[in-house]
Symmetry: C2
């Protein structure tokens, strides 16, 4: 039996899974220790200390199933964000809520619209369903909302907008985004993927027109806002994200949601981290400082970059970036090549601490001079 013929066409069309190597394996193979990883936009300050303490405490009951309703986390989100618990869908990372949105609203005969240079999971979730991906050209590496509006057809059911965008760090301003959402046909859902919301909102990043879309959820019922605990809260290893939406949309996504999709340690850590304002502010100011450090250094070196309001930046190395990525790796610095995002001459670098950024810049100089 050929199992590929038995598989659903959408699944069959996915890229075969390539097992990766954990850092420890890479270190062993390369004979390195203490690799600096600036590849996955993780928090260089580590997890929220309050989140970490709650995780440690929650390990005491780890033989028990999680609270499938996420009661405490939803109550904390509800209080902090000013939304009803009935508007929240919890995910095993925010990527899971993105997939819930696609699986609820999109069938094989539909179209999903997203931008060039946008997040890698949007085409994958579209492909799994067997729906048609409609990729609109970027403007200045970011979302061209006019092009996206023109791409809508009667078959369109879902639009993904990453704001700020990953991997480019670009953002769309509040007026343009609200106008775009206001004009959508009623059968078109829009997911605004705000994995980097807190960074972009920080005054130090200078994106004064970056919107707080949560304020719009009650106005535009086809709006789904997705956020995560993996970035500024430093909990990527525990897998917690959420969506805020119209209660009916949340009801539908929660029907699809497996009851124990978020673990008990993750729920406890996220609930506590949400209240850890001190760690959040340290994280955001460290990031704003680090962004200034990196852009100043790129300017000094005459390296172009894509202006970013995330905790990462794409630098244009003015040559195919793959060999440079390899050279950096051999010297113990992992960044992210983004050729698969249509950016063959860029490298995406996570903003680290001042010391980590300095190490990256020194090693970058070495490999550019070699």
């Amino acid at each position: 039996m050929n199992f590929y013929e038995l598989a659903q066409p959408g699944v069959r069309g996915l890229t075969p899974y390539q097992p990766g190597k954990p850092i420890e394996e890479l270190e062993r193979e390369l004979g390195l220790s203490n690799i600096l990883k600036l590849a996955s936009n993780e928090n260089p300050l580590g997890p929220s200390p309050e989140g970490l303490a709650a995780a440690q405490a929650a390990l005491a009951g780890v033989e028990l199933y999680p609270d499938g309703s996420g009661f405490a986390l939803k109550a904390a989100l509800s209080a902090k964000l000013g939304v009803a618990a009935e508007q929240i869908t919890l995910g095993n990372g925010s990527s899971e809520v993105l997939e819930f949105a696609a699986r609820v609203f999109v069938a094989a005969e539909h179209e999903v619209v997203f931008s060039q240079h946008s997040f890698a999971l949007y085409p994958i979730f579209t492909q799994i369903i067997g729906a048609k991906a409609v990729v609109t050209p970027a403007a200045q590496w970011g979302h061209d909302l006019d092009a996206m509006r023109r791409a809508i057809t009667p078959r369109t059911r879902l639009i993904f907008i990453a704001n700020p965008n990953n991997p480019t760090g670009t953002w769309v301003g509040g007026a343009a985004l609200e106008s775009f959402i206001r004009d959508l046909p009623p059968q078109v859902m829009v997911v605004v993927d705000e994995a980097y919301f807190e960074y972009a909102s920080h005054a130090g990043m200078g994106a004064a027109d970056y919107p707080n879309t949560l304020a719009w959820v009650n106005r535009y019922p086809n709006l789904i806002v997705a956020r995560t605990f993996s970035k500024c809260y430093g909990l990527a290893g525990l897998r917690v994200g959420y969506a805020v939406s119209h209660p009916d949309v949340a009801d539908l996504m929660n029907r699809l949601r497996p009851p124990f999709n978020v673990g008990s340690v993750a729920l406890a850590a996220a609930t506590a981290a949400l209240g850890d304002e001190a760690h959040l502010q340290r994280t955001l100011s460290t990031n704003a400082d680090g962004m200034r450090q990196l852009t100043a250094a790129f300017n000094e070196r005459g390296l172009a970059y894509i202006p970013s309001v995330g905790n990462f930046i794409c630098v244009d190395v003015d040559q195919p970036a793959g060999p440079l990525y390899d050279a950096l790796l051999r010297k113990g610095v992992i960044v992210r090549p983004v050729a698969n995002y249509g950016l063959p001459n860029h490298l995406r670098v996570t903003v680290g601490t001042a010391e980590q950024n300095a190490v990256f810049l020194r090693v970058l100089d070495e490999v550019l001079a070699a």
Copy 2:
């Protein structure tokens, strides 16, 4: 806009999500403390101490994304089970790998076969896809493999067999199960759901003909075996399960698998727990002893029960079980009503420690006498 009309029919047909209450909320409402929960087949001895220590250590790096390949856990499973890493699919609990199997191989025009009184997620995964659920009558509360064989049509693509079955604890013997699998048409996949494998395999449970189906995976390429760390390893809160299958089947399931579906703390805990033979043996002998304690007590009281090789048992209370469930709850003991499984006069009780079982029996006597 009516979002229910926009939703996919399979999702729309799912039961609306009912937020539950965590135990702490229940205790507050009932004015109780120290509720005894024998409802979810969790390990009364707690997590594997080695798993717990590894989880604590892994919290140090919780700001980092998990190893998406699950390299270390797959290596440990490979070594312990004698299968190749390429045959393994890791899940956010074993329930996720059950859903992967359905989503890879089943479309809306197909049929999924499973037994009456079997696990609640099989009809849900079938419903999400919009496929037809074919429920075969049970024999002695367990799987009637002849009835299941007769239920296969040209539209059948997947069969779920829980062995032992949840909630009844019944099992099918190796000879009958292998004969069933051998005779399957080549396009029919079978998932043998072995969430309670280790309990049923234990000599103290007396199921001498309970099979080790992993030995069959290389013989029958349409066989998928699913197991979990949520039961005997005591890690239900961390969400780790796995499937072992033909490498092509694993490739297809891994294409669908989100890359970070299992968290880093979960991966570390499961890897360590797998080697904690002492905790496993304590768990299994505690369970065998507890099962003898409960069945002896039921026999003394003239209460019928379904013979079980799991870590739970369904006792026939010879009256509608709902009010008894409520009465037990008000006295601080949570068990599981199973009317939704077609067993309105039974309660499913998790086997606890000797002390916990004694508390349950004392409270059961009180409510039966009331």
